[in-house]
Amino acid sequence: MTARTVEETSVARAAGKGWQAFGAEDDHLRLTVLIASTLRNRGACAALAEVCMGPQSSWSDRLSALRDLLESEQAEGQVLVDVDALAPRFKMYELWDNRRFVQERRELRNLLVESGSRRGWTFIRPAPQHSVTLDLSGAGVAVDHGGRSPTGESPELRRLVRRLLEQERVREGDLVEFAEEAGNRQDLIDTHVVRRTDQRLSPEARDAALRLSLLRPAQALNGSIGIVPIDGENSHRIDRSSLDELLAAGLVDQADTTVQMPRAVRRFYRGLAEGTGDIDARNEHWWFAKQLGKSTAVEDRIEQHYHSVCAHSVEEAFETATYYVADIRALAVWLSRKGSINENFYAKAAEIFGRLWKLDPSDAYAWEYWAYNTSRSSANPFVVAMPPLRSKIREAYETAWRLEVSRAGNELANPLYHGRWLGFRGGECEEDVFGEFVASLNNYRSVSEEAMAWFAKPVIQGIRRSPSRQHRETLYDRVVGQFGAERVKRWEGAGSQSGDGKAD
């Protein structure tokens, strides 16, 4: 039972043994599918694997089935590369709203660490995170810290730093000083190191790096990088000399017949690829999805789906959602967040969330944000207040909240969803929710001040959206009369991170 470092990553990849996390939000679902698929092919229980891979399986069912699968002898001696990619990332809005993903990722990480430690897995850690080190230590997995280099970069970037220093493109003292300033912000150190390398890439190699950053897994190298030809007339996306330059710079790793961009490098270039317009990232994703559509391998189908989502091709995304729909939900979240800039995005987001709860009626998040985006897809509150639509939205908000309560077994599980439901009723539905508001707020007092604010803010905002001026002002005045203007104002301004106003 050992945790090994980056030097062994390429060996493991070359051997084609084990799985690798990528650090994307779907990792927990993707890894579950891949592990189940592998174990099924080795003779483990097919029925359990089907649960893990079924598009309509709930997460708890998948996790339970995976736990049983990992007890089988076929699960012995595996390799998991970059378990640290499953470490939670800090996002304020995940506090209440999107915590389901965070929780699911944590549950999978815990399961893998526990099962792996019992089954003699090798954990290869190209970019260790402190929290995961603690988990591994706690589970009795031997952790080889390998010592932090004075320049502080992730192990997977050490080769890259060596080249920078050898070529005198950077002074070691500068890197050391930067690492001292960055402290424990590993991501900042890694970004800095990659950026320093990027500065001297040729324009062609840089374009190749931007395109490669859109691909997640290791790519077969045999005249092509996976599905991308690098020789001959069709090498317009990535050519051989650009690839050689990236390999020489240390921005891409090679293991026998495969190449892969390290996660820290991919993170940097992906950020640029998607945003600066240097390449048409959507079009690239669309092309990758199209090429991957020719394969039937589980890994390729997952990637085809991923690229369809990243291309924002909604129909293709649903068509390729063979194993799960988490990626599509992330797309809907993105559209919803853009709704404040362009109202049409609310409607598109609502359409996706609507399809998601039809696929999985237990998906509280989909119900909640179908209601949220539908209510905002029309600028005119009178349209939303029309009876048929109004009652559907009201019902959806309630369903979302009750699903959360049922999942947690606790009435106070999600003040935000509760607040939105009450806010909609007190606003567009013109109900007198004052008594219910006061009583519920009292209940949340036992949780925390923060929970009270998460509840109060959407209620007050909802009341303010009422199409009836008289109702709006009467109800609002009663709230102010009960709690005081200052407190109400504080709730209304409570953390813009509260998620209200954004479906994030």
Partner: protein
Amino acid sequence: MALPDGLWLVMDACTTGYGQANLTKALLDHLEVPRLDLLVLSHPDADHVLGMADLIGDPERPVRRLWRYPGMVRDLVAKVTNKTQAPSLEPLGNALKRIDDVVRSAGEDFDVDEVRTRARWDVGDRDYEVVALAPTSYDAFRMERQYETLVNLDDPNAGWEASERFVRALAGERPWSDHPNTVSLGVSIAWGDVRLVLSGDIEDEAKHRKAGWKGVLRALQGCGGEPDRTYLLEGAALVKVAHHGSTEAQSSDAWKQHTASGKVPIAAIAPYSNSHLPTDTVLQDLRARAAALLLTAADAGGAGTRANANGWANATASPRKLAATAPVAAIAFNQSGPLSVDLGGPAQLYV
């Protein structure tokens, strides 16, 4: 700057307007400068950058080495802003992109260093030194951290996206305060007894002891086992005043170092008319610290009038007038003997 052995150094270059005359290039052409041995790109503000792309990409005058500011936040801002039709940053974005393209295409043709305090230009066995004063590692890090306020790297399907703060800035709802001066280079140049301090736009407004001029002084004082290098600021014959003479960039501590050895320098300022720089405060402060004041454009924003109002008198005897009408001043330093000053157009020397 023509160094004593024939090497050439240029720090920053502007134009007279967007897409208009590049006076630095015109001067270099006039002097038939064959190459630029060190080109210093101090920081990504338009008044320092717009003329640089012409110099870097000039095939007739190769660049041997480029010193540039650290980070790329402003480059990204300018580039993205360009796409969103915000006109003020568009020329800057274009210039930065041109510079980036040239540097990337140059391959090994010339060296590029992202420098920090104490970085030294390796000039081999020569009797002078050129050393970077700023930015400190702390300021470089401060600027790099802004990258994460600009982009969201962790959203798997959105990928890059502008932060809310940045979107609001683009919409004109709030200022975008990325403070490019944070990473401004400063340079100290010395041969024999002659030292010049080119302060770029180093600021002194930040309270943190490791930021701006405070950080420069701290770093030069040799903390952490490094030798004391505060001599890089001392005994200056000429100080290019930081940030066009803004109050926020005027460091009393730095000026104490400049005059510590008893020498009193000439203070040189390139006025910035849009912001009415130099300020009265700085002009008054310099009156007590500098032997003379050189304004490259006394007519810019009433700078000359303000200099007079703050006790500076026009020098009448020593400076010679150049035939040029451009705002240009040429100063020749001699190891032994007086310096000579030649002024063109609206440039003016005060005593």
